[in-house]
């Protein structure tokens, strides 16, 4: 009995907080748009019965998504932006994690604190702050003009560059923390052993440090890639109309066009795309746990 409750609790949780909402979204994606509240038909009524209700559902919206190239372009562009910014985050995050893991033990809690500290401020405010930094009259341009590096202000805000900066900045801690925890566990004597056996510093890094922090790297990449793919706030605030991301399309369908069924169809496809990396991520975590035993 106790076993039953132990297993039932997470499944009930999953059912209530994921499967039921998802089923509702799927249902809306199969409906037709209408001028009503809520803005779609059919609505279930006892008079017509369940058969008539289901007969009105169709895949029209999904077909529509394939007809208008806006959608698959948006998916592709999101995928590209998420991939590039994940790699950039890795490039920035790995050296930071490495430096933290190599620092004197008494410094580590402080450094860890500094990594987590930005979370104490609202995400939205931090993204707005970047608008102030990156705009044509922003601090970055002022600094560059003042030091004489450039003569005319750079246009960064409202380009994909700004989106990359925003994503790297926002998700950096998610990259640093798993890599740091992998590197911190790494035994220094393994590096010494590699050098003793003829490795240079660099090849010891490639042959020992990187493989042994692999699970951390993979975990970090997924933790950045998965939310970045559906990201909405960063592209709309920093990317403006120039950046095309599926999160933004979704938002516009819902709130500007009030086309809930199409918006729901977009969301369903996004989720199906995300299932693949999420499953891979789970695999990685499982492998890591097994390795620890």
């Amino acid at each position: 009995m106790r076993r039953f409750f132990l297993i039932a609790t997470p499944y009930t949780w999953l059912l209530l907080l994921f499967l039921v909402p998802f089923a509702i979204v799927v249902k809306i994606s199969l409906s037709d748009t209408a001028l009503a509240i809520p803005p779609y038909v059919p609505k279930f009524s006892w008079d017509e019965g369940i058969g008539a209700y289901f007969s009105q559902l169709d895949f029209e919206n999904f077909v529509f998504l394939t007809e208008d190239d806006l959608y698959w372009k948006a998916y592709l562009s999101s995928f590209k932006i998420a991939t590039i910014s994940t790699l950039l985050t890795l490039l920035v995050g790995y050296p930071i994690a490495y430096g933290m893991a190599r620092s004197a033990p008494e410094w580590r809690p402080t450094l860890m604190m500094l990594v987590i500290l930005p979370f104490w401020t609202s995400f939205l405010i931090r993204v707005y702050a970047w608008m102030g930094i990156l705009s044509n009259e922003g601090y970055l341009n002022q600094l560059l003009l003042w030091t004489g590096v450039i003569d005319t202000p750079l246009t960064i805000l409202n380009t994909n560059t700004a989106v990359y900066i925003g994503i790297v900045y926002t998700y950096l801690p998610f990259m640093i923390l798993p890599i740091y925890s992998a590197l911190e566990r790494l035994d220094e004597s393994l590096i010494e052993a590699a050098e003793d056996l003829g490795c240079s510093r660099l090849s010891a890094f490639w042959l020992v440090t990187i493989p042994l922090s692999k699970t951390g790297i993979i975990a970090g990449c997924f933790l950045v890639f998965i939310p970045a793919l559906g990201e909405f706030v960063i592209p709309s605030l920093l990317g403006g109309s120039n950046s095309l991301m599926i999160g933004k399309v979704l938002w516009e369908e819902f709130f500007s066009n009030r086309d809930w069924p199409v918006a729901s169809a977009v969301a369903v496809i996004l989720l199906l795309i995300l299932v693949i990396p999420i499953v891979l991520f789970q695999r990685n975590q499982q492998k890591e746990q097994e390795a620890e035993q």
């Binding site: 590699a194 003793d196 056996l197 003829g198 490795c199 042959l207 493989p211």
Partner: protein, 375 residues
């Protein structure tokens, strides 16, 4: 059968493989290695022995290239190796923690150093197979380090450090984690490997019995200094200080003052009202010099009656008997309060032994049994 004496340290023609010249290593203000000068010869099995924290690991790490001496030079085959990074040294170290690469199989661990050398593939295969055979690990080649036992891991570490056939192999407490039987087996394996490959070994150990078994020479260290370097038998028979005598094996120390009474022979006054002891020594002692007489328990005979011929004989009372199976150690208290340990083989059954607690017995030893040491 004739055995060729292996004593390169006595041959002035012989060049040492390793030469430490006035090496000092400080960590901050702490002196870990203190003005150390030693020579280690090719094909030696050099054992470092000393209490915890005396600087053995530091010495090894300097040889491997992980620490640079604060002062002094380290020469390997006549070349100053201090500026040479670890990966460019013809030395390999077997780490006390083994430091096996957890992401690589046993086979790949052993091949690691060979691949870095750029050895051709077939040669690597042959060499790794050879190492696996030598350490009896053929069956485990495909496993990862966490899938084998501690003793097997230790042998992988050994195979890995041996694979490159280094000029010099550094073993930091290589057998510390093994049970006695496996340790002895591996000790003989090590000596065997050393004989076959001709590698020079430097081994750190806490176990003095191990040092005595495997070493061509033993270096006893204390507080970053070498106190004595000698062959195991000489370290045991003729320690150069009370510290070494006390550190290696069991010993009785009697304090006294010397008076010469013949060529290389001294009488040692050790207690009022007791006949002086006689000891021979080829170290000169002046009359009235304070000294310590060190005698191993097994060199002291125990008897019920006063032995007629003995150079030294003292009477005492049996205080305690430690039964060790093949031998017994008798703790005998002399009238002066000094307790002397004497060992005798248990040739009879324990119930029929000649002496028991509170018995009055005579202890005797020859003039050459003990070693006279200056204070």
């Amino acid at each position: 059968m004739t055995t060729v004496e292996f004593e390169p340290w006595d041959d002035p023609q012989e060049k040492p493989l390793i030469h430490f010249q006035n090496v000092t290593k400080r960590f901050g203000s702490f002196v870990a290695i203190d003005n150390l000068t030693i020579d280690i010869y090719e094909r030696e099995f050099y054992a470092l022995l000393g209490p915890s924290g005396c600087g053995k690991t530091t010495l090894m790490r300097m040889l491997a290239g992980f620490e640079t001496p604060t002062e002094g030079n380290i020469m390997l085959a006549g070349q100053d190796i201090v500026p040479v990074p670890p990966n460019k040294r013809a030395t390999n170290m077997m780490f006390q923690s083994y430091a096996l690469f957890p992401h690589l199989s046993i086979w790949e661990n052993i091949a690691f150093g060979l691949k870095r050398e750029g050895m051709p593939k077939p040669d690597i295969n042959n060499r790794v197979e050879e190492m696996l055979r030598l350490t009896r690990l053929e069956k485990f080649a495909k496993r990862k380090p966490h899938q084998i036992s501690g003793g097997q891991r230790q042998r992988v570490a050994l195979a890995r450090s041996l694979a490159k056939a280094p000029k010099l192999l550094l073993l930091d407490e290589p057998l510390g984690a093994l049970d006695k039987k496996l340790r002895q087996e591996t000790q003989f394996e090590l000596m065997d490997i050393q004989e076959k490959t001709g590698t020079t070994f430097v081994i750190v150990t806490h176990d003095q019995e191990e040092a005595m078994t495997v070493a061509s020479r033993v270096a006893v260290m204390d507080h970053g200094k070498i106190i004595q370097v000698a062959t195991p038998d000489r370290i045991y028979e003729t320690p150069n200080s009370v510290y070494v005598a006390d550190f290696i094996g069991d010993v009785n120390i009697i304090q006294g003052t010397t008076t010469a009474n013949g060529e290389d022979s001294y009488s040692v006054a050790w207690a009022d009202g007791q006949a002086p002891l006689t000891a021979s020594s080829n170290q000169p002692f002046s009359d009235g010099q304070k000294c310590h007489l060190a005698i191993r328990p097994e060199k002291i005979a125990i008897s019920a009656d006063k032995p007629e011929e003995a150079a030294n004989a003292v009477q005492g009372k049996v205080l305690d008997i430690a039964y060790l199976g093949n031998i017994s150690t008798y703790h005998v208290e002399l009238p002066t309060g000094v307790v002397i340990k004497a060992q005798a083989a248990n040739t009879r059954r324990i119930s029929r032994r000649s002496y028991t607690w509170e018995d009055t017995v005579w202890l005797s030893w020859t003039a050459t049994a003990g070693v006279l040491l200056a204070s």
